[in-house]
Structures are given as structure tokens and as C-alpha cells.
């Protein structure tokens, strides 16, 4: 399993990914799922992936090596695409190419072609944008009305995002809420786990403001988890008990 969340806000982009993978509960490992293409001053693109690890790794490799563009007869990578929309289309083409190569054999083995990706970033002179790409290679884009996208185990961590993240939320507050969202997910699903990779890209800065890995025992995240847990306990304890009365 996986949990990645991307937040596209007024001030910029925040992305957080866990690193846990599992092939069955008896085979758990750690793989980076947040991939960066950064050329300071020119482009910053982040790609978060969820799904079958063989598929997601092949897609990332293909995007780095180059995906042939049948229309222009050229080979494009995330380092060469001229716009973020073209970058999303490129990721979609990479997904379809890996499906073409591996999909039929996987289906023969009843292995689902399971992949979804979040692509966020900005190319010089263009807008900061964020997309979610599906297994069919189609995609949607985040907008101010719904400024976050999630892939993988998205449900446990969604309630706090629904409540606490707005388009105007400060980048570091959004990172904080995102980490609370990841904490809730990790508590309810063992297949999501530390370390966490995160990045912050301020709008129009054209270079990452922060890239960071939270390892086991990292003091801030430990403190956040403990504060959140204690505050939830205090909160539900402070709510009065239901006044509903016994039947006569």
C-alpha cells in the first residue's frame, strides 16, 4: 500500500509520500515514491506514485529515459516537456506504454494493472499545476475548490484534509495538516509507514524550498503525533455524554 498527498495552494505546492511497499503482509520493504526533476530557475516537477511497484518503477524509468511521442517522432522526458499539461500527457503515455508491454501478461496472472500518480510542479513562464493520473493514462487537475489530491490509502487521512485545508492555507500549515493526515493513515493501515518524503515548492520560486525525509524517531513528527493523539483524547473526553434517556 501507499499514501501520498499533494496540496496545490495559493502559495505553492506541498507533496508528502510514505515509502512502504508490500507484496503480501509477509514481504514489506521501503522504496522511494516521491521522485523529483529539478533544474533550478527552469523547472521543478515532482511525481508521486502508488500501485504495483513493478509498474510504478517502470513508469518512472521510462519517464527518465524518454517516452516516444508518435505525433512528433521525438522522445520526451520530464526534463524536456514544455508545459505541465504536456508533462501530465507524457506520464499518461508512459502509463499506457507500460500497460501495453506488461498489462496482458499481468492479467494472465490475475495481477491487476494498478497504478495512480500525482504530478505537480512548475515550468518557467508557466503556471504551477498538479494532476492525478489514472491507470488508463487519463488525468484530472486540482483546482482551488479542491486543492488536494490523494493516491493509495486515501480514506483514513481524508477527514482532516476536508476540514483543515483551504486554497489559502499557508504552506507550512498545509504540510502540518498533511502530516496529521499521514499519521492517521499510518495508525489505521500498517501498509503505510515511515520514512516519509516531502517537498515544498513555493509558487514562481522555480526551485524547491524544502525537500526532506522524516525517519523513524524524527523529533518534530513524533511530537506532532503525540500532541494530536493527546488533543483528540482531550477533545472527545470534553464533549458531554449523550443525554439520551433510558426507556421508561
Amino acid at each position: 500500500m501507499t499514501y501520498c498527498v499533494g496540496l496545490l495552494l495559493k502559495d505553492g505546492l506541498v507533496m508528502i509520500c510514505d515509502t512502504r511497499t508490500n507484496a503480501g503482509v509477509d514481504n514489506v520493504a521501503s522504496f522511494r515514491k516521491l521522485h523529483m526533476v529539478e533544474e533550478p530557475g527552469e523547472r521543478v516537477i515532482a511525481l508521486a506514485s502508488s500501485g504495483n511497484l513493478s509498474i510504478t518503477q517502470s513508469i518512472v524509468s521510462l519517464l527518465m529515459e524518454g517516452v516516444p511521442d508518435p505525433e512528433t517522432d521525438t522522445v520526451e522526458t520530464l526534463a524536456t516537456v514544455p508545459t505541465m499539461f504536456k508533462a501530465a500527457q507524457l506520464v499518461g503515455r508512459a502509463v499506457r506504454e507500460i500497460y501495453r508491454v506488461d498489462g496482458p501478461s499481468m492479467e494472465q496472472h490475475n495481477a491487476r494493472f494498478d497504478v495512480s500518480l500525482i504530478l505537480g510542479g512548475q515550468i518557467k513562464g508557466r503556471r504551477l499545476r498538479m494532476f492525478m493520473i489514472y491507470a488508463a493514462g487519463n488525468f484530472i487537475e486540482a483546482t482551488p475548490d479542491t486543492p488536494f489530491l490523494q493516491i493509495g490509502e486515501h480514506k483514513y487521512g481524508k477527514p482532516i484534509l476536508d476540514r483543515a485545508v483551504k486554497y489559502n492555507t499557508d504552506l507550512y500549515d498545509a504540510l502540518k495538516v498533511g502530516l496529521i493526515s499521514v499519521d492517521s493513515t499510518m495508525r489505521s493501515n500498517l501498509a503505510v509507514g515511515l520514512p516519509l518524503d516531502l517537498m515544498i515548492l513555493r509558487r514562481d520560486a522555480m526551485q524547491t524550498e524544502l525537500t526532506y525525509r522524516i525517519e523513524q524517531g524524527e523529533p518534530y513528527f513524533e511530537d506532532l503525533r503525540q500532541r494530536w493523539s493527546e488533543a483528540l483524547r482531550a477533545t472527545h473526553q470534553a464533549i458531554p455524554k449523550p443525554p439520551y434517556v433510558k426507556k421508561a
Copy 2:
């Protein structure tokens, strides 16, 4: 969709169900999903259902009319079974009987035979027990290690249960936490909605201590939702921002 949660605690049983059903997002209705069989002093059995409404209603009807027992050549209902384990087996047989009748035709129409149920209660002289019955008619039982069971849209509301409910939790505190869990679910999934049906059965009381329906605008639940929302906001605002520093 549906969300029902059952909590089997040291002091007794709490069950909460929403009432929303939908056949597509353009066809939303309200149906009772928490069914009671109560003979004070003798037995109290609660059955919560989730899944395709035609299946769950047929199962409940069959359980009230009577399910033939091939081994004894008699007809049993929830009002006649001698133990809660036998009641769970009876529900399982009813699920299999409705699958036998309706399953193949539904599959021809690509409609999944989708059902799960929570059965809780106590029969005089026997233990208070709670079971979850699956679409195949098999079932699991709640134990002190994991004192709650959920059916339907279970993920949004699970984090607070994981954190706040223990076997020793007071019945009305458990009801409160259960209502917070339902609130989180309703906020994130429109297919779960008011009114809510709830019941409390104190261990060995042999009659329900509380049966109640929370309608839209009910003051306690409105207050709980508002307090929870405000406290979450205050809590995440009170947590310090991440100290992670910009790259040099």
C-alpha cells in the same frame, strides 16, 4: 452506501447505523438498517445491515419469517434461536439462501451480491456476543482485543475508534466516540447520512437500555459535531509549524 458500527464492551453493546441508501447518486433514500428483536427478560438481538438493499431487506424478511434448518427440519427465526452463535449461523444461512435465490440472476446483470451484517445481542443465560457476517455467510466475532466491528464505509470513521475505544470504555463514552466516527464518515462520504439509529444494551440487563433515532437538527448531535470540528481546528492550529529548514 452505509456506515454501521457495533461496539462490544465490558459493560455492554452499542450499535449505531445511518439510514441513507442510494441507487446511484441521483437516487438517494432513507431506510432503517438497524433491526431489533427484543423480548424483555429473554433476548435482545440487534442486526445492522450494509450492502445492496434488495439483498439486505430479503435477508431481514427471511430471518423474521423463518429460515429452514436442513439438519433439524425445523424453521428458525431470531426470536427462536437458542444462542447467539446459533443466531449468527442463522443469519449466515439466510445470506446463503438469498444468494441461492437471487445471486445468479444478479450476476447476469453484473450486480454484485454485496452484503455484510453486524449481529449483536444476548439471550437469557448466555453471553453477550457480537458477530460480523460476510456475503458468503461466514462470520467473525468481536473480542476484547478489538471491541468494535464496522460495515459499509468503514475507513473514514476508523481512526477515532482505533484511538479512543477500549474494551473498558464506558457505554455512553463509546456511544459518543461512535457518533464522532459517524460524523467523520458523513463529512467525507455523502452516501452516509442522517437520521441515525442507535441502541445500547447493558450486559445481562436483558432489555435495551436505549433505542434512539437522531434526526436532522437534533441538538446534542449538532453540538457534538460543532465541538469536534472546532477542537480539531484549535488542535492543529496549536501544533507548531514544521521546523524543517530551507535548503542552503
